[in-house]
């Protein structure tokens, strides 16, 4: 029994509806306002997780492809929502990360921010991310990008402290520029190919002139790349991620750049698989530079969250390396690189969120995250020290954890395809990561206990809140451990997912099952209408 494709609407509709309800009753809540908001949000996050698990099992486990044509309008005319292994994997991880960060957010977000609408914004952000993973055409991808950006703008600046507004401006401007570039790409796609639907673009792009292909691919690389924070376009990330409350940083670090990475994966495998080969040197150079700059930049940073946000950049470089070598193996190993990149993406989303939450907890206990002014927390918070250590070595890639499996597989495919330089760079970046993680741990947990410069917030004096803060970190670390121990089946699964994502023909067939819609044909650069038959209800 195939599951109904209508399930695809839930990850977007459920958070939106819940946020709408929260806003609707925000006025009448009275004393129990925030409590009800928290309960509703938790409910929505749980529904989201359940649906994501269902979709993941069907799509990634059994290789199903879900296509929902909204309102029964067939593919190029209506809005297509598409879910396959790749998007449902990310959907599942997003649901996990969102659910894991939420207790931390509940424990640490203060009353003022909650009053200003933190909880509905959390749901709006989740909705935008989910929608971007499920979008089946370029313009809806843009819309969901903007939804998630809008939510992230407000989450970033909520509370409106000076540092937040200052970083908020940089974040907003650079992300808007990226969106503009992306929208230009969409306009060019519509002008030259006459469509915005992913499947139809994939169908028609091989017929288009090389100039169109190159411009389109370049614009998408710049637009998505700057969302993903690749090498020359990453400046918005370290400029802003350290200013909001740690819960917000954990959510951003887990989700936002991954949307850019996902869209890079999707667009390059679906639209230009041949460019993936001819642009391989460029992509590998970008990947190497991203890894190196991220790791080196982290070395020069004075605070926990600044270090961690530079490491996000470094790890995006690893994923890009996986994409760049995706098609270059022999015919048996096609997709190996992408599979490795996908498993790296999973590992990164899980462990980076855990690490930022642990770092945020350190920050809350010490009253500061500047490494020079903190230290010796291991005697006061042994559990936190343990969890931070586990997460840190997992990020660095030490064997029992998921970091090892993912880095090993990436390195293996890169060496197999004889890209020695970038492989060397990735090893070097991993070493730097290890060094940085050890620096973080040593500076914040070892040494003499330095009394916090300010009295740590009263929030942390209750046991319940400490448990709310640390339990999700522990669960995510356990998940990373499980992913590392079950590396073999996980890797096989992600190989399947990658194969599915690389199968362009199946995507095109899944989205437009009938040939009713092949009405527009391209003649050089203009097109003529021959017959139009829509399935107009």
């Amino acid at each position: 029994m195939a599951m109904s494709a209508n399930l695809l609407a839930v990850p977007v509709a459920a958070p939106l509806l819940t946020a709408a309800l929260i806003l609707l009753f925000a006025r009448w809540g009275g004393r129990t306002l925030i409590r009800h908001q928290i309960a509703l949000t938790t409910l929505a996050l749980c529904i989201n997780l359940v649906v994501a698990v269902l979709l993941f099992r069907a799509a990634a486990g059994q290789g199903q492809r879900f296509v929902l044509q909204l309102g029964d309008w067939s593919a190029p005319f209506g809005i297509t929502v598409y879910g396959d292994g790749l998007s449902t994997t990310l959907l599942l991880l997003t649901a996990l990360v969102a659910l894991a960060v939420y207790p931390f957010a509940v424990a640490t977000i203060d009353y003022h921010r909650a009053r200003m609408g933190f909880h509905p914004l959390y749901l709006f952000l989740l909705m935008g991310v989910n929608g971007a993973f499920l979008a089946g055409d370029l313009f809806n991808l843009y819309v969901f990008f903007e939804v998630l950006l809008m939510a992230s703008f407000v989450l970033l600046t909520i509370g409106a402290q000076p540092a937040q507004t200052n970083s908020g401006i940089r974040y907003v401007v650079l992300n808007l520029l990226a969106s503009t570039v992306f929208l230009v790409a969409a306009g060019i796609a519509y002008g030259t190919l006459g469509t915005l639907n992913f499947a139809q673009i994939a169908e028609r792009l091989p017929l288009a002139s090389p100039a169109v292909r190159t411009v389109f691919a370049g614009l998408l690389l710049v637009g998505f790349g700057s969302k993903a924070a690749i090498f020359p376009l990453f400046f918005w990330l370290p400029a802003s991620y350290h200013t909001p409350p740690p819960a917000v940083t954990a959510l951003f670090g887990g989700l936002l750049t991954k949307v850019g990475v996902y869209t890079l994966f999707r667009s390059f495998t679906l639209f230009f698989p041949e460019l993936l080969l001819s642009w391989q040197p460029t992509l590998l150079t970008i990947a190497g530079a991203t890894m190196l700059v991220g790791a080196l930049g982290a070395l020069a940073q004075p605070g926990i969250r600044r270090v961690l946000s530079f490491h996000i950049i470094s790890h995006v470089g690893f994923m890009l390396m996986g994409l760049a070598v995706a098609l270059s193996g022999n015919s048996l190993a096609v997709g190996f690189g992408l599979g490795a990149a996908i498993i790296y993406l999973c590992h990164h989303m899980i462990i980076k969120t855990a690490l930022i939450m642990a770092g945020g907890a350190v920050e809350l206990y010490m009253g500061s995250d500047r490494l020079a002014s903190i230290g010796g927390l291991v005697s006061r918070q042994p559990l936190l020290a343990f969890l931070f250590f586990m997460a840190a070595i997992s990020l660095a890639g030490v064997p029992p954890f998921s970091g090892f499996v993912s880095k090993l597989s990436l390195l293996q495919i890169t060496l197999d395809t004889r890209h020695w330089v970038v492989a060397g760079v990735s090893v070097f970046a991993s070493l730097l990561t290890m060094m940085n993680m050890m620096r973080l741990w040593r500076e914040s947990f070892w040494g003499d206990y330095s009394r916090p410069s300010r009295i740590p917030s009263r929030i942390l004096q209750s046991r319940a809140r400490q448990q709310l803060m640390l339990t999700p970190v522990a669960l995510l670390v356990l998940l990373s451990l499980a992913l590392g121990i079950l590396g073999e089946p996980a890797f096989r699964l992600s190989m399947q997912v990658a194969q599915q994502a690389l199968d362009r023909q199946a995507y095109i067939e899944a989205v437009s099952p009938s040939s009713q819609v092949s009405a527009l044909q391209i003649h050089s650069h203009t097109f003529e209408v021959e017959t139009v038959s829509t399935t107009r209800p």
Partner: protein
Amino acid sequence: MTSLLLAVAVGSLFASGTYLIMRRGQIKLILGLALLSHGVNLLLFGSGRLTEGRPPIFLDKTGYAETIELNLPADPLPQALILTAIVISFGITAFVIVLVNRRHTVTQTDYVHGEFVPLLREGDPFDFSESTEIDQHDWLAYEVDEVYDNDELLTGSPSFPPSEQDESTAMEEDQYKWP
């Protein structure tokens, strides 16, 4: 001819938008963003092929196929795309204006500071022992302990009625009942 005109308009909008964004003033920034979004909207408009005087929607369904065969209809999609893009840029412009206004009130300056100034200081770049220097350079520097959960600093924030203030302190001291 019209398409050339359109191309020139799009190009000049992009050029002036980019120039304005490069400046360090915030008002110029807003204007630049607005110009850029206008440029993109115009580009989307041009992507639908400029056809003059043709209807996009046929109310007379019987002559539908013949009309299409005779001449290309106007493309109805770009206007929908532009409308959506306008909605989005409206929302974002609104947000940026409020943000900039807020920042201007706090800092009394229109100037956008650089972020990486402290990294350019002399001496050992990895020596963080005297990190006060960073604060001096970037006086909007990040101070986590002041940023959240400190009620006293939110002096001007909207005052809650007494009942809600109770709740606020209850949350702080965790007599608050968690769901």
